[in-house]
Amino acid sequence: MEFNSNKSIYLQICDAICEQILSGRLMPDERIPSVREYGAEIGVNPNTIMRSYEKLTAEGIIYNKRGIGYFISQDARDIVLEAQRKEFLENELPAIRRRMALLGLDASLIIDKA
């Protein structure tokens, strides 16, 4: 796994799991790798993976069955969608607007006319 952006590794791991939930590669009640398995797979300290799993658990995206492992929640997709839509509207879209204004581009360009 390649880590690039300025985001801390544990948040990037959260993002990667959320991406897979959105794309349908991870389905509700599907087991995800254990902290150590995942750490070994991507060469990251298990404590970092643990932090990611704790965050996702707190957000209700995954759940822990004691002694068995971590699983994708029933409504994981809805939670991820809502959070990412909010993130897009609050941060990404205003950034695009600013960039377009800077370049003198009209907002109507965003709508695909074809």
Partner: protein, 295 residues
């Protein structure tokens, strides 16, 4: 759990017991300038992979050899689960491994070395040794004297991990490894170590071990500048990759496309820690860093 208290150590032709003057009030004292390590205090906890960083000659190897009982502390003490490592009790030694920076080529096949010497470690598994050798793409049937430095290093790394000890000390393990082996090393360390183990890895190659080592220990001449988890570091320091220069940066370095800056974390936002920038920021702000991490 490893508890290091007021640890001091010195080398030199007049080193050791000869230079110690007995002071009844303060205990054994050594002349100030002869110390390699002095007043070292820290605790190392289970389930962690510590990265031991420091400039050349600050005593990283000395500290590792003290931890594994090869050297005797001249002042202070080391306590590992109630044992003093220098007592070198066989049962204690069977549950720890020290992988030195320099490794010896033996005139036997790697697999025979593992079979013969593995007997000294209770948890040793020959199957695991073969498995890790395979992951590191090294032939266990090869004679160690015929191996390149990198292959020999991989053999010893495989052996160290196959010993399955609670305590594992590795001195510059990625030195001499080729590019693909560095990723394999990171994976192997995560995959083949016990959950309750205390692993200490000294290194200058922080990029080889990025994302694996946590907490980070930065050793300075006769001092511990930092001993903190990545989460604690990210909470207190902010790593910014930007084209704008901030005046109050603790450290900044030009990189293609802008600069990397280390500042105090004012917003509470988590950023990705760059270990080289961290090391330099700590070195340029020793007292400030000790202050904010000892709160």
């Amino acid at each position: 759990m490893i508890t290091i208290k007021d640890l001091g150590f010195t080398y030199g032709e007049t080193g050791g017991l000869k230079t110690i003057t007995l002071n009844k009030e303060k205990g054994h004292m050594l002349p100030e300038d002869r110390y390699v390590l002095k007043n070292i205090n820290m605790n190392l906890e289970e389930g962690r992979i510590y990265g031991l960083l420091g400039e050349n000659g600050v005593g990283k190897t000395t500290l590792l050899t003290l931890l594994c009982g090869l050297k005797k502390p001249q002042t202070g003490s080391i306590d590992i689960d109630g044992h003093n490592p220098y007592d070198r009790e066989p049962s204690f030694l069977a549950d720890q491994y020290y992988l030195s920076d320099e490794v010896a080529p033996m005139n036997i096949k790697a697999i025979d070395y593992a079979r013969n010497y593995g007997k000294f470690w209770e948890g040793f598994s020959l199957e695991k040794f073969i498995e890790i050798m395979k992951e590191l793409e090294t032939d266990p049937e090869q004679k160690m004297t015929r191996m390149s430095f990198g292959q020999l290093k991989k053999t010893y790394i495989s052996f160290a991990l196959a010993c399955n000890t609670k305590y594992l000390f590795m001195d510059e393990p990625t030195n001499g490894l080729d590019i693909p082996s560095k990723a394999q090393f990171r994976k192997a360390v995560t995959k083949h170590t016990r959950e309750d183990s205390v692993i200490v890895i000294s290194t200058h190659q922080v990029r080889d071990l990025e994302n694996i080592i946590d907490p980070i220990i930065i050793l300075d001449r006769q001092d511990v500048l930092l001993n903190a988890t990545m989460a604690e570091i990210a909470e207190r320091l902010y790593f910014d990759y930007t084209s704008d220069k901030t005046d109050d940066a603790l450290y900044s370095e030009m990189i293609p496309g802008g600069s990397i800056q280390v500042t105090l974390n004012q917003t509470g936002e988590d950023s990705k820690i760059n270990l080289e920038a961290l090391f330099n920021a700590v070195h340029q702000n020793k007292e400030l860093i000790k202050g904010i991490f000892n709160k």
